[in-house]
């Protein structure tokens, strides 16, 4: 079967690079074609990368607490750019401090993210979900 393509990056002015490297490694090992755009990536960088590479999913990481602001409007922007059914996942430390997870989860779901992960989520969990969502599990 043809490899599925995932665009991976850390959004906004965020420079936390360690998790990104681990995600790249694990996704590649799991058989995905990983397009890693690295840290300091804007929504536009994610979207442009997904267009050119015909990606199936976008994995957004946000570690420094400003995830909500950085991710706002991302689904609409994807649609605007013609990325109709692309999967949008987000994880890391997406909001500041310890907030009520149900609220955070809902906020990001409402923003159009297909999967929203709390701090400390294992990579495997995300990968299993994606296999399900892409119908390759």
């Amino acid at each position: 079967m043809e490899k599925k393509t995932v665009v991976l990056g850390v959004i906004g002015s965020d420079v936390h690079a360690v998790g990104n490297t681990i995600l790249d490694y694990s996704l590649t090992n799991a058989g995905f074609n990983v397009v890693n755009i690295g840290v300091l990536s804007s929504q536009e960088d994610f979207i442009n990368a997904a267009i050119e590479t015909n990606a199936d999913a976008i994995w957004v990481s946000s570690l420094y607490g400003h995830g909500e602001i950085d991710c706002r409007g991302m689904r609409e922007n994807c649609e605007e750019a013609g990325l109709k059914d692309i999967l949008l996942y987000v994880g890391g430390n997406i909001v500041v401090g310890k907030q009520d997870w149900d609220v955070v989860h809902k906020t990001f779901k409402d923003m159009g993210f297909d999967r929203v992960y709390p701090p400390g989520t294992s990579v495997e969990e995300g990968i299993n979900d994606m296999k399900k969502d892409l119908g390759i599990a």
């Binding site: 397009v35 890693n36 442009n48 267009i51 590479t53 990606a55």
Partner: protein
């Protein structure tokens, strides 16, 4: 004596350069008006007649090589998918091949865009789109559109390899096409060399159709390339050297012409400071940018527009001139030669503006991103801060009494604090106009080209002993 003969068919002049192979020196150079309207060999023979009146010894020409920018040079339209990605990569590949990029298109073309392409007088189209295995709809749509409108210039296809076969099917028997490697095989890297080579080989075949070129083609030894491509080749050769001959390292060339200003830079352009994050498309080691709005004559009005009085004031006492009049005069009389002190000062100031703005556009920028931790620096484009050499070529610089002052306009100042322009480069001059000839020479004997470039590219204000003291 055994010699190489290098020919440069320019838009105005056909220049010839005779090189003594054993002594590795220029025996003589000369020029005559280019005659594209009738037969280019007339102009070439005029130039050769003049050249050979100066040469006393018996000359045996071992090889003849030519480059050309006659008849407007090589005009290309670049097409890609995302403007900042494959469309930009296609544009860079075309520029590196020595082309004038008339326009760049992105995403799915519509009918009016294709009509615009069809009605333009381009020589070639570079069609990209999608990384390998990535998006294929766009490039296929665009291929269909080009085929539907029966585009009658060659199309170089340098996009997603996975749909090469489909494109062959679309173009078969309808469009002249050449499939080459993707300009952006994967997102983080660009691959401009194969597209450049393909463009060059088509150029060779095409230019032969120019008036009289078939006669030239028979007599030259095969290598014929766009003049800017041979200048870029010379720059690369001088910078990188060969395994026998050391290059001089990173450098930039500034070429201010009547219509455009070209900057060629050779160097990775990696951040010169620690802790800087790189953004944007990968930069080609040998990079050429062309500013179509910066030139001494044809583009003088747009120089005025690009500079505004703010930049002009840096280089000129603007109270002394009727600016409107001066720029228009140069635009309307493109063969105008500055003779009075006042006109010369004006031309030199214009040249400084061209040098300043073109380097600003060529060099990268560094932006500060504020975070709770403090500022983070992110760089887009090449960092040329520590660039060791800036080389000037072209009439305005070479004939200037103070070429250094013009070249200094390419350097970093606090007027553009985010620019990564060279800070303290050494300035060199292509006094004998050898660059295009040396680019051709490097196609046959690279080490010799390195040695001759070192000999003939001289320090600003220095003697003629070349780069090494």
């Amino acid at each position: 004596m055994d010699c190489y003969l290098f020919i440069d068919f320019g838009s105005t002049y056909t220049k010839v350069t005779l090189v003594d192979i054993d002594k590795e020196e220029i025996v003589a150079t000369d020029k005559a008006y280019t005659t594209v309207q009738t037969d280019v060999t007339i102009g070439l023979n005029n130039a050769l007649d003049r050249l050979f009146t100066k040469v006393k010894d018996d000359v045996r020409i071992v090889k003849k090589l030519a480059c050309s920018s006659a008849a407007g040079g090589l005009k290309i339209i670049a097409i890609g998918l995302v403007p900042e990605l494959t469309a930009e990569a296609a544009k860079r590949a075309a520029l590196g091949a020595g082309a004038r990029v008339i326009k760049t298109y992105s995403h799915n073309l519509n009918n009016s865009e294709v009509l615009e392409i069809k009605n333009s007088d381009v020589d070639m189209i570079l069609l990209a789109g999608g990384t390998d295995g990535g998006n294929s709809e766009c490039i296929m749509h665009n291929a269909e559109m080009l085929a539907k409108h029966e585009i009658d210039v060659p199309v170089v296809v340098a996009g997603n390899k996975s749909c090469a076969d489909n494109i062959v099917e679309i173009f078969q028997d309808k469009v002249e096409y050449y499939i080459t490697e993707n300009v952006m095989p994967n997102l983080k890297s660009i691959n401009v060399e194969p597209a450049r080579e393909t463009i060059r080989s088509i150029f060779m075949r095409q230019i032969v159709n120019a008036n009289g070129m078939e006669n030239v083609e028979k007599s030259i030894s095969g290598i014929l390339m766009p003049t800017p491509a041979s200048v870029l080749k010379a720059a690369e050769t001088l910078s990188l050297g060969t395994k026998d001959e050391d290059g001089i390292g990173d450098l930039a060339i500034v070429d201010i012409g009547g219509a455009t200003t070209d900057i060629h830079s050779i160097g990775e352009g990696a951040p010169s400071r620690a802790g800087v994050y790189l953004r944007g498309l990968e930069e080609p080691l040998a990079k050429r940018t062309v500013e179509g709005d910066l030139g001494m004559r044809y583009s003088s009005l747009s120089v005025y527009e690009a500079a505004g009085s703010k930049v002009l004031k840096k280089y000129l006492d603007i109270e002394e001139y009727d600016l409107e009049y001066e720029f228009t005069k140069r635009h309307e009389h493109t063969s105008f030669i500055a003779e009075t002190d006042k006109d010369i000062r004006f031309d030199e100031a214009m040249a400084k503006v061209c040098a300043d703005i073109s380097m600003k556009r060529h060099a990268g920028v560094v932006e500060e991103i504020y975070s709770p931790l403090g500022t983070i620096l992110s760089q887009t484009g090449k960092d040329l801060m520590e660039l060791p050499y800036v080389i000037g070529t072209g009439g305005v610089i070479v004939n200037s009494k103070n070429p250094q002052a013009i070249l200094e306009a390419t350097t970093f100042t606090m007027d553009d604090p985010t620019s990564l322009k060279p800070r303290k480069p050494e300035f060199l001059i292509d006094k004998e106009y050898v660059l295009s000839a040396m680019g051709l020479l490097s196609m046959v004997d690279k080490s010799m080209a390195v040695r001759m470039l070192k000999k003939y590219i001289v320090k600003c204000g220095g003697n003629t002993n070349g780069i090494k003291e």
